[in-house]
Amino acid sequence: MSPKRAYRSKIRILADMMQCIQEEGEEGAGPTKILYSANLSHDRLTQYLEELIEKDLIVQMDENSSNKTYRLTEKGRDFLREFAKMERFSEAFGIEI
């Protein structure tokens, strides 16, 4: 029997994806790396990547290349910093986000 998967909020999934991209630095992260790191299905990954690009939180590095890689924008880095603060605050009260 597989262990019960903990519920992850949408913001947590987006933050997990962005943390994976941040860890790759200036080189950026490819979809496969993000998919495994954030533990997502391909459809979900595509949907969330589009949403992150739309919100200017990440950018695709070379739009003409067949190998898609993504890196964080300044807005994305601010988002992750704010997320870390909110996470510390919530966890102090035993609230998971």
Binding site: S9, K10, I11, R81, E82, F83, A84, K85, M86, R88, F89, S90, E91, A92, F93, G94, I95, E96, I97
Partner: protein, 197 residues
């Protein structure tokens, strides 16, 4: 029956005002976190601190008004209403965390007696709710070992001790000092959360 001197009453109201302001800050930050994350329990926490803060401000204003007007009825209403607000706030904490004064005449000194500032039945209900909140905070700290969680645990333990001081008749001023220390622990947590990377 323990009398409160005008100086003590001034200190009590000042301490309560500072505590209420810190509670308002925590409410604001919880609401900010809620808007960012859409986690409903943060909205409950924010409402809890807002109700607690409003209750404390209400108590300060009510006591001031009663002191100036020498109106005992007003004081009774204020004490019961604000005690209910505290209980509402603690209920919200249970839900969200589950794992001063012008110179007074001697007559006023007689009039301001501890049992008039406290409804013992409601304080006992508040005490029971706070025991649950403390236990939940303890479980949270034991599982996360986060120092931010420790500040919250210390804050709620001090708030519990503050209510215990009232229920055991150890002194209203002592209770207010403990309450202020509780909110200062939460303020330190809030400052550290915002500053540390």
């Amino acid at each position: 029956m323990q009398d409160i001197t005008p100086d003590q009453l001034g200190a009590i109201l000042l301490l309560e005002t500072i505590s209420a302001t810190i509670a308002l800050l925590v409410s604001h930050y919880s609401n900010k976190a809620f808007r960012f994350t859409q986690q409903k329990r943060l909205a409950d926490l924010s409402t809890g601190f807002l109700v607690l803060s409003a209750g404390m401000y209400g108590r300060v204003l009510g006591i001031l008004y009663a002191a100036v007007s020498s109106n005992l009825e007003t004081l009774t209403i204020v004490v019961i209403a604000t005690s209910f607000m505290r209980i509402m706030a603690y209920v919200l904490f249970v839900v969200s965390t589950r794992h001063t004064i012008s110179k007074m005449t001697p007559e006023l000194v007689m009039f301001m007696q501890i049992p008039l500032l406290v409804d013992f039945n409601l304080e006992t209900v508040g005490l029971i709710l706070l025991v649950i909140v403390v236990l939940q905070s303890l479980m949270n700290y034991m599982s996360t070992r986060s120092r931010y969680g420790l500040y919250v645990l210390v804050g709620f333990v001090l708030l519990l001790l503050s209510h215990s001081a009232i229920v055991t008749n150890s002194g209203y001023l002592l209770s207010q000092i403990l309450q202020l220390l509780a909110f200062l622990a939460l303020l330190v947590m809030l400052l550290k959360v915002g500053r540390e990377e």
